[in-house]
């Protein structure tokens, strides 16, 4: 029997119990969308980290009572420091002006009788090693006339650690739900086998190979897995779309232009392939178990 004909027969059979088939596909889709959703978040977090962690910087805030020769002195020390690549200086007046423009708090700031913001040096170090950056930060903290030193890549490193944790979680979740998918298919096929016991028995009596018996069930398992994968893909695509439209407002407020990247083509294909394979595998286990049990009787 040609493969196309088997596939059609399998689809006809799936359509004889449309609700059951639909529910199965939905369950598989939702189960798969959990790890895939987490994967999308991790990928996006990773993109964020590599965007920011690539250029670590230190912010050096001067004391409010520092005078202009203090600033000149600090600038000179920084420029001569071997670990410093280059520096930027943001004066108190500049900082206040920027705040007035960006925050929309113009009225409030206009009502202040003095500028509360300090002069700031932004230091770009030569190396990116976390340990050395911390040493550098501690060294700056001992300098006079500096009120506060902040290592700006610290949150990126925390995010990186969080991402490592999420990746582990992703792996666990994916493994568990893959097992669930195999189990769902196994059970569906087991029930199908029970209703088609006679057909299997007769087929074997008239010379069907185990491969012939297995084939329609394997097709069914793969198809169900594939459709489940497609459902998961739809869930993720819709969710990213919905989240992005609310993220758009959020990122306009933060002026960051950040949005969730959708699944890539390769990732989508991998998802569908994996889902189909798990369905196939569940079906294979189920039929093999049945054939083995029959043979031993």
């Amino acid at each position: 029997m040609s493969h196309l004909r088997i596939l059609l027969a399998v689809m006809r059979r799936a359509l004889t119990a449309p609700l059951g088939t639909l529910l199965n596909i939905l369950v598989i889709g939702i189960a798969l969308s959990l790890p895939v959703g987490l994967y999308v978040l991790v990928q996006n977090g990773q993109a964020l980290v590599s965007r920011y962690a690539a250029a670590p910087q230190l912010s050096l805030f001067m004391k409010l009572d520092s005078r202009s020769d203090d600033i000149v002195q600090i600038r000179k020390r920084l420029e001569q420091h071997p670990a410093v690549s280059h520096i930027e200086f943001v004066s108190r007046a500049q900082a206040l002006e920027q705040l007035r423009q960006d925050s929309g708090l113009g009225d409030v700031i206009g009502g202040l009788d003095h500028n509360p913001l300090p002069d700031t040096f932004i230091v770009y170090p030569r190396q990116r090693d976390a340990k050395q950056l911390e040493t550098l930060r501690d060294e700056f903290r001992r300098w006079p006339k500096l009120a506060h030193v902040q290592l700006d890549s610290e949150w990126a490193r925390r995010l990186e650690a969080l991402l490592d944790f999420s990746r582990m979680l992703l792996l666990l979740l994916a493994t568990l739900l893959a097992i669930a998918l195999v189990a769902i298919t196994f059970n569906t096929i087991r029930l199908q086998i029970l209703t088609r016991r006679e057909e299997i028995e007769v087929s074997q009596l008239i010379g069907a190979t185990p491969g012939f018996i297995r084939r329609p069930f394997l097709y069914f398992g793969s198809l169900q897995g594939l459709l489940g994968g497609l459902t998961a893909w739809g869930i993720i695509a819709t969710s990213t779309h919905l989240l992005n439209s609310s993220l758009a407002d959020l990122s306009r407020l933060y002026a960051s232009g950040f949005s969730l990247l959708p699944l890539t083509m390769a990732d989508s294909l991998a998802l569908l392939g994996f889902a189909a394979f798990l369905g196939w595998f569940g079906a294979w286990l189920s039929v093999s178990q049945h054939l083995r049990r029959n043979a031993s009787q």
Binding site: M1, S2, E198, E199, L205, I206, G207, A208, T209
Partner: protein, 217 residues
């Protein structure tokens, strides 16, 4: 074609269905296997199709030792044997035509070719007009003939029939025996188990008699 050498078969629990059975059926021969129910006729047929394996002796079919066959080779042995079951073993979820198509699908025939062969087989047993009917709507005799059509559709060299006329009245039984005779005419090897000894005598073919698992001389 079929040869038993000192074959015995014990079922789990100790019941000995066959004891030291030896006989031979030549190629193209039509042989009856007689005996009361429980004499071991069904077991003997099952040994030929490797549905059961012997505990002692050897079963040779077409030169192959069936008892020692690898399980992967059994489907290919069975494709060369047409089985006609006492309980028909028809599939009630599909039409008569689809029942007859099954062996051809298993052997991998193309769809068009399969349809042609299946209709020819149905025609042979006089069921061509009823190809769309499901087996449940067929009479006992028609079900038996459908079972025959399925057994012969891929033209096996050997036909094994277990009580093919068991539950039929004389007219139907005679019609089925005529069908068997027509296969005999074209060279098929037939082994037909029956308890209807009168019918066997009428045919005048060789018969093997089993009683309590032993072959009577």
């Amino acid at each position: 074609m079929i040869r038993f050498d000192h074959v015995s078969k014990r079922y789990p629990g100790g019941y000995e269905a066959l004891h030291d059975v030896s006989f031979e059926v030549a190629e193209g021969e039509m042989v009856f296997l007689t005996g009361h129910s429980g004499a071991g006729k069904s077991t003997l047929l099952k040994l030929i199709a490797a549905i059961e394996r012997p505990n002692g002796g050897s079963v040779l079919v077409n030169g192959q030792n069936v008892g020692a066959l690898r399980s992967a080779a059994i489907p290919f042995l069975r494709r060369n044997i047409g089985l006609i079951f006492q309980d028909h073993k028809l599939l009630f979820d599909r039409s008569a035509l689809d029942n007859v198509l099954l062996p051809l699908q298993i052997c991998g025939f193309g769809h068009r070719d399969s349809l042609q062969r299946a209709r020819a087989a149905l025609d042979k047993v006089g069921l061509l007009a009823r190809e769309k009917v499901r087996p449940v709507a067929l009479s006992g005799g028609e079900q038996q003939r459908l079972c025959i059509a399925r057994a012969i559709v891929n033209r096996p060299a050997i036909l094994l029939a277990d009580e093919p006329t068991g539950n039929l009245d004389a007219d139907y039984a005679a019609a089925i025996m005529d069908i068997f005779d027509s296969f005999h005419q074209v060279g098929t090897t037939l082994l037909i188990a029956t308890h209807d000894e009168a019918g066997v005598r009428r045919f005048g073919k060789r018969s093997l008699a089993l009683a309590q698992g032993r072959m009577l001389a």
